[in-house]
């Protein structure tokens, strides 16, 4: 029964891929059932941008459902919520009016709320689900306000009418609508500082759901941001784009910095989602700014980079979450400090996780490299803009993207190295077992996707270009090229990951052959690791994840604000013998300390003050009613 359910969802994913692919390549379709819902009815329209996101949801839902197939014990609970979750996600990108959109959006949030609440016994996951519910509904309130504002001003709840009426709106209305809608969507996408729910909620859900939440659900926030900044509201003022760029720079850097000091494998991946959303925003922000300046070809380039990274992130993040799920299933813990040596016990999972790590760290020739390369190229060409202030914002984006790339590489050396290499750090890790066959199939599907998206940008980019020109309403020649090379902005630059892959493979084999030709010694002896003369090697001698991250903690201490606690218990006879050492070096979140705590305190204070009104006396309540009635009569 469980398997049947997940099989149906996988088939639905395949249908979404087909329909989305049809929409992406220019095929349109529309469905309107006015009587089904109040306020405008059910209305669905398939356009290229919606088609792209629909296909993406399908692409991620298929392997996630196959994974759930193999993880029957963990997936039995919540299969109904899972089906609702995937279905509602599929409706969001094709919804064509306010009512349809918000119902699908809220269903998606509610279904994922129940999936986050998977483990009802654990206090952590109840808390995570609660914070998720609050944040997602604050976002919904912003969306509702923005959509009602636009709907009232334009006089129609249909998105197509907004698009047509956008040039006639007053600047104030447009700015207010942009702010409200962008806030609501940014909250769902996990943009800093609205990201606090993400590292709590994603790890609490079962791994196939985490893969979908991180892979595609937060991408629907990106979808909304794309609609708001480039589509529904027309060409906005330049501060929209600058705000998106700055938010992207901040999210990418802050996401990766938190990931570096995180040793819960799934939370680490969740923080990397924040980082990658930031990278996507860099592309969207640059597209918006170029578009205001009338540089349509560059706007298309920025948008293509953002869309490419959206697709890539869905693939490698789903892959990494499924890999992490397999590891957590095998070891029973999410703490990296208790793992190690899994590459010998779980060779398949290790290889898949390694490919995912290299892809997310943007290492050539995999897919992350292509989209980060395109983003760099979109940002680099800001010299065509004349305003020095905008140039500076772009420079900020370039520098933070570069630093993010380096730190992400460092973080995934830690994630893969501590989890899979060296000796097992716990008995559970030493007894780990390889993942089941469906789980491996799911991971290998995503590995294939990462490799194909990596070496085949010449196949992917033309499709994305047609989506971008449909969104921008122009057909600029942003990208040219042949079967081997993608060429950007004429002579400016070109990339060919296929050529890189071939040359890398060739030069990997060259030393193998050369060493044999020159007659190098082929004797190999297996022996212990060198250890300054100590007798046996134990896992306690290994470098830990905490130690690995400590240089970063020291360099960025102004951001982490680490606190240190050291307890040493000496032997009663002599201070030279230590019985027990306890060392703690936790970091603190500036967002919780400086933003959320004060805001909550304010809220509690306000609630307490309002509580004074509620005395419990019926006479007083009658007086309130009378006062309200009088006030209304006076005002009317």
């Amino acid at each position: 029964m469980t398997r049947l359910g997940y099989g149906v969802v996988a088939l639905m994913g395949a249908a979404a891929v087909g329909l989305g692919g049809y929409g992406m390549t220019g095929g349109g379709a529309a469905l309107r059932l006015p009587s089904l819902l109040p306020l405008g009815g059910l209305e669905l329209t398939l356009d290229p941008l919606g088609g792209l996101f629909l296909a993406l949801i399908g692409c991620a839902a298929i392997p996630a459902s196959i994974y759930a197939f193999g993880d029957a014990a963990g997936a039995r609970r919540g299969r109904f919520a899972y089906a609702v979750f995937v279905t509602s996600m599929c409706v969001v990108p094709v919804a064509a009016n306010t009512m349809t959109f918000l119902i699908a959006w809220e269903l998606m949030s509610l279904a994922s709320y129940f999936l986050v609440l998977h483990d009802r016994q654990s206090k952590g996951s109840v808390n995570a689900a609660w914070i998720y519910a609050v944040m997602t509904h604050a976002g919904l309130a912003c969306l509702l306000a923005g959509m009602l504002l636009l709907g009232a001003d334009v006089g129609s709840p249909r998105f197509a009418d907004w698009r047509a009426a956008a040039p006639t709106l007053t600047p104030t209305t447009r700015d207010a609508a942009f702010l409200l809608l962008a806030l609501g969507f940014a909250g769902k996408a996990g943009v800093v500082p609205l990201h606090v729910w993400l590292p709590l909620a994603h790890p609490a859900a079962p791994s196939h759901v985490s893969a979908l939440m991180s892979g595609v659900m937060i991408k629907l926030g990106v979808y909304g941001l794309l609609r708001v900044s480039l589509d529904w509201l027309g060409i906005g003022p330049s501060w929209w784009g600058a705000a998106l760029l700055i938010a992207g720079a901040a999210s990418s850097l802050i996401g990766v910095l938190y990931a570096l000091v995180e040793h819960d494998l799934k939370r680490l991946l969740a923080f990397h989602s924040i980082e990658n959303i930031g990278i996507i925003l860099l592309g969207i922000g640059s597209a918006a700014l170029y578009r205001v300046a009338g540089l349509d070809a560059l706007a298309a380039l920025g948008l293509i980079a953002a869309l490419y990274h959206t697709v890539n992130h869905a693939m490698f993040k789903a892959l990494l979450f499924l890999g992490a799920g397999a590891v957590v299933h095998a070891t029973g813990t999410r703490n990296m400090e208790a793992m190690g040596g899994l590459i010998k016990r779980m060779p398949w999972t290790a290889v898949c996780f390694l490919v995912g790590s290299a892809a997310i760290a943007a290492l050539p020739p995999l897919n992350g490299f292509v989209s980060e390369w395109l983003t760099f190229l979109a940002l680099f060409q800001n010299m065509r803009l004349e305003a020095v202030g905008q140039n500076l914002v772009f420079t900020l984006g370039i520098a933070s993207l570069a630093l993010t790339g380096g730190l992400a590489m460092a973080c995934f050396v830690k994630a893969f190295g501590i989890t899979f290499l060296a000796l097992p750090r716990s008995d559970a890790a030493a007894r780990a077992h390889e993942a089941s066959r469906p789980v491996r199939v799911a991971m290998l599907t995503l590995v294939t996707a990462c490799v194909v998206l990596g070496v085949g940008p010449t196949l992917v980019v033309p499709t994305l270009e047609s989506v971008a020109s449909a969104v921008l309403g122009t057909a600029p020649e942003a990208i040219s090229g042949d079967w081997l090379t993608v060429r950007v902005s004429g002579q400016f630059a070109s990339v060919s990951t296929a050529a890189i892959a071939v040359v890398l493979a060739g030069s990997f084999c060259a030393p193998l052959v050369a060493l044999r030709l020159v007659g190098a010694s082929r004797r190999t002896r297996a022996y212990e690791t060198w250890g300054c003369g100590r007798i046996v090697q134990t896992p306690r001698m290994e470098y830990t994840a905490t130690a690995f991250a400590s240089p970063f903690k020291r360099v960025f201490d102004f951001f982490y604000r680490p606190t240190k606690r050291l307890d040493i218990e000496f032997h009663p006879e002599s201070r030279f013998f230590v019985e027990r050492i306890e060392y703690e070096n936790p970091t603190r979140s500036i967002f919780e300390d400086w933003l959320y705590r004060p805001a909550l305190r304010l809220l509690h204070g306000g609630a307490r003050a309002a509580g004074a009104l509620q005395s419990g006396s019926a006479n007083q309540y009658l007086a309130y009613i009378l006062a309200a009635l009088l006030l209304m009569l006076v005002l009317a």
């Binding site: 390694l354 290299a358 760290a361 943007a362 290492l363 050539p364 490299f369 390369w373 760099f376 190229l377 680099f380 010299m383 140039n391 370039i398 520098a399 570069a402 630093l403 790339g405 380096g406 590489m409 460092a410 995934f412 190295g417 290499l421 060296a422 090379t485 400016f492 630059a493 070109s494 990339v495 060919s496 990951t497 050529a499 890398l504 493979a505 030069s507 990997f508 060259a510 030393p511 193998l512 060493l515 020159v518 190098a520 010694s521 004797r523 190999t524 002896r525 297996a526 022996y527 212990e528 690791t529 060198w530 250890g531 090697q537 001698m541 470098y543 130690a547 991250a549 240089p551 360099v555």
Partner: protein, 314 residues
């Protein structure tokens, strides 16, 4: 097609076989500067030969990652050798992604080497890996911003085109943006290739070491490959610096004679740069590890100033 292929082979050969000589010359020069006789500049070749004849000791703790890493590392550098203009302005693999590809190829090598450092499970390897990735990550913004500054003036990120463009500017050496970018990239080169004052390439057992701690478990042919790759990284980085900032003497790929001239010009430029690095390494002491980020932040500031100089002059 055949000309490009021939050029690729020559370029790889120059980088692969020139790299140990560069390292040897640097060591000899440093020894002479402190009054020692020092080894011959050809010593690194003898070292590689010796290492190739020895047996390999592999820790039982390690996995296939440890054994594949030396080959992966060499692969990244051989590929990098095809992206940088060495003796012509048209590097054979220029179309494949330009300078951003170069930066990420170095990162690919560092990624595998750092994993291999963790694989043996010793504290030395882990410490080296952690420090190496920290330095590599902090150096990256400088490289990208400095390159962006250069690309802005050349209106292309294609290295060959940047070099061509600068070769036509006679007052290049007096351009403040150019000099600032050079200073920034020079510091990054010292950090990325593990030279003083960031790392000491001459020591093996010192708790402050970075690169040497990471590769401590390697021996025999694996060590030969890793050392050779380090030498190639130095060669590629120095060639890049030399040709970007002294762009004269590079050939259009027309025939063997200009290519030969280009190779000779490169040798002269590298000789000057090597002498400069040797002087610097003799004059300065190693920085404490946690002062290194300040040095890298300084190099980023230089790159940023270079960019500002361009925006302001425009």
């Amino acid at each position: 097609m055949i000309a490009t292929l021939a050029l690729a082979v020559v370029q790889i050969a120059i980088v692969a076989f020139g790299a140990p000589l560069l390292v040897g010359t640097l060591r000899t020069l440093k020894a002479r500067l402190v009054g020692r006789q020092g080894p011959s500049p050809w010593q690194p070749y003898a070292d590689v030969r010796k290492l190739l004849a020895k047996e390999v000791v592999v820790s039982t703790t390690t996995s296939w990652v440890f054994r594949a890493t030396p080959y992966a590392l060499v692969a990244t550098l051989l590929t990098a050798a095809l992206i940088v203009p060495v003796m012509t302005v048209r590097p054979p693999l220029a179309f494949a992604g330009n300078i951003i590809l170069l930066v990420y190829l170095f990162m690919l090598g560092t990624f595998f080497l750092a994993l291999a450092g963790l694989d043996a499970g010793s504290a030395f390897g882990g410490m080296g890996s952690s420090r190496e990735v920290a330095v590599a990550a902090l150096a990256e913004p400088t490289v990208v911003v400095a390159v962006f500054a250069l690309a802005l003036r050349a209106e292309s990120i294609d290295l060959g085109r940047i070099v061509e463009r600068f070769a036509g500017e006679p007052w290049l050496a007096a351009n403040p943006a150019h000099l600032l970018a050079f200073a920034a990239l020079f510091i990054v080169m010292l950090a990325e290739t593990g030279r003083l004052p960031v790392d000491n390439p001459a020591t093996h057992l010192e708790l402050t070491m970075i690169h040497e701690a990471m590769v401590l478990e390697y021996s025999g042919r694996y060590l030969a490959l890793v050392e050779w790759a380090s030498a190639m990284k130095l060669f590629v980085f120095m060639t890049l610096l030399a040709n970007l900032f002294v762009p004269w003497g590079l050939a259009e790929p027309t025939g063997p004679i200009p290519v030969l001239v280009g190779a000779l010009a490169l040798a002269a430029k590298l000789a000057v740069l090597t002498a400069a690095v040797a002087l610097l390494e003799t004059a300065v002491a190693k920085l404490r590890l946690f002062r290194v980020p300040e040095l890298l932040a300084g190099s980023f500031a230089l790159a940023f100033l270079s960019l500002m100089a361009i925006f302001v002059v425009r």
